[in-house]
């Protein structure tokens, strides 16, 4: 018989030349003229977010099922995800790289999902009362709450002054409940207050809160907003019949029913005008007849969120676009009559400022019982703030929110910024940085430069509070679509939240948009490219022909073995997220 001569494979001298480790023979690294560089970059969504939320990291954490950790990442920059997850204008989604692939990620629904499902104790990793200084925050809208939150996290003593009986500013007294339910706002405010923020309610500046008291603080952050609706007509005798959008919304629940049933003309094309119309519709039990919204803009140019306009149209509300009011006829015992002329809107490409230009001689006359004007708001400050320069009726600030008075800082609508929640939160966050630098006697300009995300005014708070050990990110660089290797991704439909049926929802103040179910959200989470963010997919390890990618355990990072890496660039191509780039060797 044949002897078994099959050799036994030994570890030291294998019969077949095979290796499960690096090929140790040639230090082929000398052939390299380019080297791979591992650098996390900023995703375009984060760059576009005025608050600078680390969106891809939150998606990555949520993809492993850790909703709490994802929410914690969000709360690092934005204390109001439940609010923004409902009413934000989604600049992040406009910038999402996935738009070039199929459709943008539904980031806002994700943000809302985190807020609806996650639990985070924001006091856990901050040193409360770690500093001596006391800071007054005047106004508890998004800017004020954001400033209070960020300053409290750094350790300052915060006193939050609010004129109204409840906190929240326009989020409570402007945004209707069917867009932002009160319990959500209450919950988020409670979370901010858990940081030890002292609250003074019913303290109107100038009435109960005087200059001297304010000046006794080490710094003051003014976030008083624009409380008073702008008027176009002298109301004269018709005060009851001519009102403003903001005053209507602040008292949406208490208007007497007979007023509500009047034929109403709402002037304006922004969110306030539509919110007035939709609230009125709901108070009327869903009857849209006799409610007309009229604005100088075309439907496409209306400053309101497109989805709000869409929902209003679904609910049967009537819009008349392209007409500007020119005259009010108020004759006793008769209906009000407002004359409109055709108008166009000129939008300044740089500043975004709008100018309404009526043209032609045609007049459209509208007969109505009531006019609600929602064309913007103005600042109402009953006291003089010595040393604080005002400009065009607003508080003048530089780009950090510094007023002409060294101790006084301001942000939000009162400084003329964008009248949107996310921008107000961003203003509060930046103001917190400016105040911190002022109190620490540090140069805010230089500080911002090291924290700045791309060229935006948003910045990363990691170093500020020292509360998170995330992977280092090159904040100056944005991961573009061409850096994504789309071969590793497949087309998937974007999920949209369910909405209440237009007929039934227009009778109640129930929230229109529903939270997305966990199953669908998991699917949406899996769509995130994770632009510029290493998520340990380890494609680089799998694809490296020289087994030259080194996995470090602590901290969890990747490196390459310069003795053997030939600089072929395979890893940088195989990186789905644009983290690895080739850089010329310095000879």
């Amino acid at each position: 018989m044949i002897r078994s001569r099959r050799p036994v494979l030994e570890r030291e001298s294998p019969l077949v030349p095979m290796s499960s480790q690096t090929s140790i023979v040639f230090k082929t690294g000398s052939q390299r003229w380019e080297r791979p560089v591992f650098a996390n970059k900023v995703a375009p969504c984060r760059h576009a977010c005025p608050i600078g939320v680390d969106i891809p990291s939150a998606f990555d954490l949520a993809s492993s099922g850790d909703v709490d950790a994802a929410l914690k990442t969000w709360l690092q920059d934005n204390p109001l995800p439940g609010v923004c997850g409902r009413v934000c204008y989604q600049p992040c989604e406009q910038a999402c790289n996935r738009r070039d692939f199929d459709t943008a990620l539904n980031i806002r629904s994700f943000e809302r999902f985190l807020s609806d499902h996650g639990t985070v104790d924001v006091t856990a990793d901050v040193q409360m009362d770690g500093r001596r200084e006391s800071i007054a925050v005047v106004g508890s809208g998004p800017a004020g709450l954001s400033a209070a939150y960020h300053l409290a996290r750094i350790g300052y003593h915060i006193t939050l002054f609010e004129a109204n009986p409840k906190l929240g500013g326009m989020m409570r007294y402007g945004i209707p409940r069917f867009r932002l339910p009160s319990p959500i706002l209450d919950h988020e405010i409670d979370r901010i207050l858990s940081l030890g923020v002292r609250v003074e309610l019913g303290n109107t500046i100038g009435k109960h809160l005087g200059w001297q008291e304010l000046e006794s603080f080490d710094a003051v952050f003014m976030a008083v907003g624009l409380q008073r609706g702008k008027r176009i007509f002298d109301a004269g005798n018709s005060k009851a019949r001519i009102s403003t959008g903001v005053s209507f919304l602040a008292n949406a629940d208490t208007h007497p029913q007979e007023d509500l049933d009047l034929k109403t003309l709402i002037v304006g094309g922004g969110n306030v005008a539509i919110d007035v119309a939709r609230s009125l519709l709901r108070r009327r039990g869903g009857s849209a007849s006799g409610i007309v919204v009229i604005c100088p803009e075309s439907k496409e140019e209306m400053p309101a969120l497109p989805e709000e306009l869409r929902e209003a149209l679904e609910e049967g509300l009537e819009f008349v676009c392209g007409w500007a009011p020119v005259e009010l006829h108020d004759r006793p015992g008769e209906c009000l009559q407002v004359d409109f002329r055709p108008a166009k809107v000129l939008i300044d490409a740089e500043s975004g400022e709008r100018e309404i230009v009526p043209f032609g001689t045609e007049i459209q006359a509208h007969q109505t019982d009531r006019v609600i004007v929602a064309i913007g708001q103005e600042l109402h400050l009953p006291i003089q703030l010595p040393g604080v320069t005002m400009s065009r009726g607003l508080i003048e600030v530089d780009r950090f929110g510094r007023t002409s008075h060294p101790k006084f800082f301001a942000a939000g609508d009162a400084t003329g910024g964008k009248a949107l929640v996310a921008d107000a939160i961003a203003g509060g966050k930046l103001g917190a940085l400016a105040i911190h630098c002022f109190l620490e006697n540090r140069d805010v300009e230089g500080e911002l430069q090291t924290l700045q995300i791309g060229k935006s005014s948003a910045f990363c708070t990691d170093q500020l509070t020292g509360s998170r050990q995330s992977r280092p990110v090159d904040l100056g660089r944005i991961a573009s679509f061409d850096q994504i290797n789309t071969l590793f991704f497949s087309n998937e439909n974007r999920i949209e939240p369910e909405r209440l049926d237009p007929r039934s929802r227009s009778r109640t103040f129930d929230e229109v948009a529903q939270t997305v179910e966990s199953q669908s959200m998991r699917q949406e989470i899996s769509r995130c490219f994770g632009c510029g963010l290493c998520v340990d997919c380890e494609n680089c390890i799998d694809f490296c022909p020289d087994l030259s990618i080194v996995r470090n355990v602590k901290p969890e990072t990747y490196d390459f073995n310069s003795d053997y890496c030939k600089g072929c660039g395979m890893c940088s191509v195989a990186c789905p997220r644009g983290v690895i780039e080739m850089e010329q060797e310095q000879s």
Partner: protein
């Protein structure tokens, strides 16, 4: 069955149950490819038939497939094996037990189709076992044996037929039962395979010293292969009644002049030897069946009584002589009283080496005073031989 050598080789291959066959057609091997394709078409092949774009790819496919642990087969000839050359080194270096049938055909230029051993002998140093067969039955039997040998020593084996002499001639061939072959040749159990759960680089770069170790290990396997070839042949003989030996000898025990050759010339020679024996000449034959590893000790032993040795090569190493002659001389050098070797290079390009031609070789070998330094080509012209 009445089969051509190509068909016999194809039957042998199918009986061995390979799982992957990768090949490219080339005259005179094409009928093997066609036969396998026909079986593939009717669903009786039992293997994946890869119709690749070249012989280079065919061998690459066989190597990779073999590394996954399956039995593989390929067949080629002439320019085909020349193109395969690079991968032949890889195959033996990777220790994959591939079986290849090469049908000898002349190499260009000039373009020609007929038998010439130079194509396979040019692959002498690629680390493959080489077995040269003389008829169609032997072709079938040797293919089956080759798998058993290769999978034991973990080296690839080349079974060599001769273009048109064996490849296209038809002879009665006994095709064994599948069950008997299965008993003789159980399924291939590889010692190591590609495993996606344990990723590894195959054929990685090694140090100078490691390289030497691998080559020495392969040499040991080659040396050991001799006994394996013999043992496999013996067991095959016990089971199927046909045994060939590493050397196939005929009437050589008392022969004074022994002819050494390989392939079909060996079977023609038997007739010539019978004729010469009738005339009282003590002549015999040693047909070299196993060329790699070269059975040195067996050759020396088989020629220990010979007074003179003649070698007929149907091949030529330019600037030297026939390869079998050269190898034989090298083997005999270990014997102090080695017999003179007369080297003939005949039948190049497929010309016929007839019985009369072989009788003339014996006659000249007996007559010559001195051993010529260079091989003898022209056996008809005495002047050319210096008489």
């Amino acid at each position: 069955m009445f089969l051509s050598g190509n068909d016999a080789a194809a039957y042998g291959a199918r009986l061995a149950r390979p799982q992957v066959i990768a090949a490219y057609p080339i005259t005179p091997q094409s009928p093997i490819y066609e036969r396998l394709s026909a079986w593939d078409g009717e669903g009786s092949l039992g293997a994946i038939m890869m119709r690749v774009e070249s012989e280079h790819s065919a061998m690459a496919a066989c190597i990779s497939a073999s590394l996954t642990g399956v039995r593989t087969f390929t067949a080629t000839a002439s320019q085909g094996i020349a193109l395969m050359h690079e991968l032949l080194h890889y195959a033996s270096g990777m220790r994959v037990p591939i079986v290849l049938v090469n049908v000898n055909r002349s190499l260009a230029a000039p373009w020609s189709f007929w038998s010439d051993q130079t194509d396979s002998l040019s692959q002498r140093d690629t680390g493959w076992l080489q077995l040269y067969v003389a008829d169609n039955q032997e072709a079938l039997d040797t293919v089956i044996q080759a798998y058993r040998i290769s999978e034991t020593v973990l080296l690839p084996t080349m079974v060599v037929l001769e273009g048109f002499y064996t490849s296209h001639f038809m002879e009665p061939v006994e095709v064994p039962e599948q069950e008997s072959v299965d008993e003789f040749l159980p399924a291939f159990k590889p010692a190591f395979t590609l495993d996606t759960h344990q990723p590894a680089t195959f054929c990685q770069t090694v140090t100078q010293r490691q390289y030497a170790e691998f080559k020495i290990a392969r040499q040991s396997a080659m040396i050991d292969a001799l006994e394996v070839v013999e043992a496999v042949d013996r067991e095959y003989g016990e089971r199927f009644g046909r045994e060939y030996g590493v050397l196939n000898c005929y009437r050589h025990d008392d022969a004074e002049i022994v002819l050494v050759t390989a392939g079909t010339i060996g079977s023609t020679a038997k007739e010539a030897i019978d004729e010469l024996r009738e005339g009282g000449k003590k002549v015999g034959l040693v047909r070299i069946r196993l060329f790699r590893p070269f059975p040195k000790a067996r050759v020396v032993e088989s020629l220990k009584h010979a007074k003179r040795v003649a070698v007929i090569d149907r091949n030529l190493s330019p600037g030297q002589e026939g390869v079998f002659s050269e190898e034989l001389k090298s083997a005999l050098y270990s014997r102090v009283d080695n017999a003179p070797v007369f080297s003939f290079v005949l039948g190049l390009g497929g010309t016929n080496v007839s019985t009369s031609c072989i009788r003339r070789v014996f006659e000249l070998t007996e007559k010559m005073q001195n051993v010529p330094v260079n091989p003898i080509f022209d056996i008809e012209n005495d002047d050319a031989l210096g008489f």
